[in-house]
Amino acid sequence: MEATADKKYTFRDFESDQEVRWCPGCDDYVILRSMQKALPEMGVKKEDVVFISGIGCSSRFPYYMDTFGMHGIHGRAPAIATGVKLANNDLSVWVITGDGDSMAIGGNHFIHVLRRNVDLNIVLFNNEIYGLTKGQFSPTSLVGQKTKSSPYGNTQPPFSPGELAIGAQARFFARIGGNTPKEMTQIFIDCHNFKGTSLVEVLQNCPIFNNGAFDQYTDKKVRADRQLFVEHGKPMIFGTNRDKGLILNGLKLEVVTIGENGITEEDILVHDAEEKDPTLHQMLVRMDYPMITGIIRRVKDLTFEERENAQREQVKKNSKFKKTSDLFYSGDVYQVI
């Protein structure tokens, strides 16, 4: 079907003809639908959208999107996507990955794509478990977690994706619960609009192998009291009664109650996602009460391809070689008669 920018898409335009085969009740369905709803809002042409994935449950995602897509090999999606973006800067390139895919077998590509700041969008489905291989612990599984490969409890301390990413110089990091599609859709749009690598960690419930892993933060009943959805420029307030907030006490973040001990709304820290110094962002990422969601870090920087293109243009300008024959005949050549 021919599609142009003038035409307003709906989410239906991004549904492929393939049947979705995730387990019933999986948050992956929420992510898929949120993406299909976000894309029409991005102002991007359908033919310019590319989804690249690795291996795992999440990595089936490209098959379900009626865009360009590649189901790659385990852990390598960020590297493949880097090649796609460098080949054609005009594309909107998305990496779909999971906690095993991006942080175990693909850990190296994950940190380096962030370091380079290629203009890609990475959606990390974090369910703290291996799903497709049937229930082994992952690099984000908790210590003590009993899984198929840790029957007596996991002994490997977990990565926090955000902590690792910001340590690897991520310019954009967001986190969102797998059961909040409206906010998720908006974050996907924000990812698209950000120039540079944007990473969004979705706390994705796996109903089969790790059911309820995030319930203490994401369950509707506790969400307001246990989750703080941060917004740039706004005070970091949460709670059913909007009376809890964060302050900086020495070098530590502390949860306080507005109205107690003389604390007023003015004392609450205002979220600055655009602060280059990652210290506070790292502290936010590491908190577990409240669990911070929303865009935690969004710092402008040159993208890798901008740096590359600028250099190539400079080289082109200064070069005496217009065609390969100019190069081949340059320097010491000699005649044989």
Binding site: M1, E2, A3, T4, S16, Q18, K45, K46, E47, D48, V49, V50, P62, Y63, M65, D66, T67, F68, G69, M70, H71, G72, I73, R76, A79, I80, A81, T82, G83, V84, K85, L86, A87, N88, D90, L91, N108, H109, H112, E308, Q311, R312, V315, K316, S319, F321, K322, K323, T324, S325, L327, F328, Y329, G331, D332, V333, Y334, Q335, V336, I337
Partner: protein
């Protein structure tokens, strides 16, 4: 095909001319003597030239102090100290200036950068620093802070004054050259013990600096220029001297220009392939996009991404890197994208002999992936034709929509030879399978009826949205399919696609006898050695020996079996334990195939080849 061989049997392939130059106080005579003595004990024939003829004697003025020593070594008879220099070790600017003209273009110069001070440059009448002004662009310059490194090495040796320390730097240079040419340090260390008896600190200092230089070269993985053959008959035209790795890089530049596509290189540094990366990163002006990736896997994966998005994509590596790329190469084969993987082979297995040459990755290139995973495999055979085979690798991958492994090796990659300059106008057309539907029904896995190449719709093309992936796909739609019969069909069609490449590559034409008693078979980088050996026998009047050299390894040329039939006996000569011989036996039953293998990290020598062929002809 290039004719690359020496007319005079007295100049074998292994012959090499090394010249040490520096101030008269730099100990160049001692350095040269030690190298030639060691080489003689190593079993080499040598010819030395401690007193340079007039034209390389220092001219008048401030360049008067240059002293030098030249040694010509080889495994068979050497009759002259050599004319052109393969390796120049220049301890100062004056030495460089007065000797540069003797160095073969493309060959190596080691300089002590510490000696390139403004004062010394003035003394040598250099207007600008030759290390910085690009005047050495046609040479391989290895810059070493030799004086500083010598001082650093000796900082803990007691009883040495500054002058004694500086005077040992010639041993640093000697150590480097020993490593490059595989020489033992033993003889020279013994010499120190005798010569400086009673001065243990001098023995220690010289020994230490010699070893430091040796290990420094090892760490840098310095490789000598190996390929020093000059062509006997050359077609008229414009030539330049080119190294194999550079020729490979230029072949891809030409292919990109001819096809009108942008070249993408994803690569991770590895000896001896890195020079291709070093060359291609220079050429952003041709639109080359190069990514030095975080590892070998990212190198090929980024290239796969670039190929998906429509670039002419390549990745470069050597044996261990190809092993790491295996899974991704399987993906490229599975999703049927164009991709060239260059493997500059080195001694294996594992880390093996990184700086030495070998042909032991053939089976890895053919079979080193999970599942039924055939790809096109071709090999360059001379430094100059690396250009042609890189170009053809690009052509084949684009026209057949399947990955191509291009094999080179340390010997031809670091060797130099005259290249008759070839512009894109003289090269064959390159087509591709870029696709945009005009409204008719289409599928990403619709195939060209002749080549079986699939279509290549690229992102950014309206209406061409589709998905590819490593899961088995339906033969028509390309959607994921677990249907048993479909998997068998797809496996066979991927194999048939490679087989049909036979219809697009040239048949093999043997050289020398067209039929007879013995067919010498080679492939890849051994062309120079094998051709030269057979040619010598032909010159001796033996007319029953033929020579067939394979550049196309998978698939083999169509007439391969017909060719084998014409000779009573076949000898397959390889720098491995018999990999191509295995392949020939597997494909063609009932032929008398014998092997001649050398697995020493070294190229074939003329003498050993000629002896073997004569023995087989008896």
């Amino acid at each position: 095909m290039d004719v690359l061989e020496s007319k005079r049997p007295s100049q074998p392939l292994e012959a090499v001319v090394i010249r040490f130059v520096g101030d008269s106080g730099d100990g160049m005579q001692l350095t040269g003597t030690q190298f030639s003595d060691t080489s003689a004990m190593f079993g080499n024939d040598i010819a030395t030239f401690p007193n340079f003829p007039a034209e390389i004697r220092a001219p008048q003025g401030s360049l008067y102090g240059v002293s030098g020593y030249q040694v010509h070594i080889g495994s068979v008879q050497i009759s002259t100290p050599g004319d052109d220099v393969d390796l120049l070790v220049a301890m100062n600017p004056a030495g460089l200036k007065t000797n540069l003209h003797a160095v073969k273009p493309g060959h190596t110069i080691i300089v002590d950068t510490d000696a390139f001070t403004q004062k010394n440059l003035d003394k040598a009448q250099y207007e600008s620093n030759p290390l910085e002004d690009g005047s050495l662009a046609n040479y391989r310059v290895i810059e070493v802070e030799m004086t500083s490194l010598t001082k650093e090495a000796l900082k803990d040796v007691d009883g040495l004054d500054n002058k004694s320390i500086t005077r040992t730097k010639n041993m640093f240079a000697l150590g480097m050259v020993y490593w490059m040419y595989n020489r033992s340090m033993e003889h020279t260390i013994e010499f120190f013990n005798t010569k400086f008896k009673g001065r243990p600190e001098i023995v220690e200092a010289n020994t230490k600096v010699l070893k430091t230089g040796y290990y420094f070269a090892e760490t840098l993985e310095l490789i000598p220029n190996a390929y020093t053959v000059s062509p006997a008959k050359m077609e008229p035209g414009t030539y330049r001297i080119i190294m194999g790795n550079k020729a490979t890089a230029w072949g891809f530049l030409a292919a990109a220009e001819k096809s009108g596509m942008e070249l993408f290189l994803g690569s991770y540094p590895i000896t001896p392939a890195s020079d291709i990366l070093h060359e291609l990163v220079k050429h952003g002006h041709f639109g080359v996009k190069s990514l030095q990736a975080e590892d070998e896997i990212a190198g090929i994966s980024s290239a796969i991404g670039a190929a998906f998005a429509g670039d002419l994509a390549i990745t470069t590596t050597s044996g261990p890197g190809l092993a790491l790329k295996g899974e991704a190469l399987g993906l490229a084969m599975m999703i049927e994208l164009p991709l060239v993987v260059v493997n500059v082979q080195r001694g294996g297995p594992s880390t093996g002999l990184p700086t030495k040459t070998e042909q032991s990755d053939l089976l890895q290139a053919m079979y080193g992936r999970n599942g039924e995973s055939p790809v096109i495999v071709i090999a360059a055979s001379t430094p100059a034709n690396c250009f042609r085979y890189a170009y053809l690798a690009a052509k084949l991958t684009l026209e057949h929509m399947t990955p191509v492994v291009l094999l080179s090796d340390g010997y031809i990659a670091n060797g130099s030879a005259p290249w008759k300059i070839c512009t894109v106008d003289e090269m064959p057309e390159i087509n591709n399978h870029r696709f945009k539907s005009n409204g008719e029904e289409w599928h990403a896995y619709d195939r060209d009826p002749d080549s079986l190449a699939r279509r290549w719709p690229i992102p950014g093309t309206p209406g061409m949205e589709h998905r590819v992936g490593g899961l088995e796909k339906h033969q028509v739609t390309g959607n994921v399919s677990y249907v048993p019969e479909n998997h068998e069909y797809m496996t066979k069609i991927r194999a048939e696609k490679i087989k049909r490449v036979q219809n697009y590559i040239p048949e093999l034409e043997p050289e020398f006898a067209q039929n007879g008693d013995l067919l010498v078979v080679g492939w890849g980088g051994t062309y120079g050695s094998l051709h030269s050996a057979v040619n010598h026998l032909a010159e001796e009047g033996i007319d029953t020996i033929g020579y067939a050299h394979f550049n196309y390894l998978n698939p083999l040329p169509k007439n391969t079996e017909e060719l084998l039939k014409r000779y009573k006996k076949i000898v397959v000569c390889e720098l491995n334990n018999g990999q191509f011989a295995k392949i020939l036996r597997m494909h063609f039953d009932g032929y008398d195939i014998v092997q001649f293998n050398k697995i020493q990290g070294l190229p074939f020598g003329n003498t050993e080849l000629m002896e073997k062929f004569k023995q087989l002809l008896k």
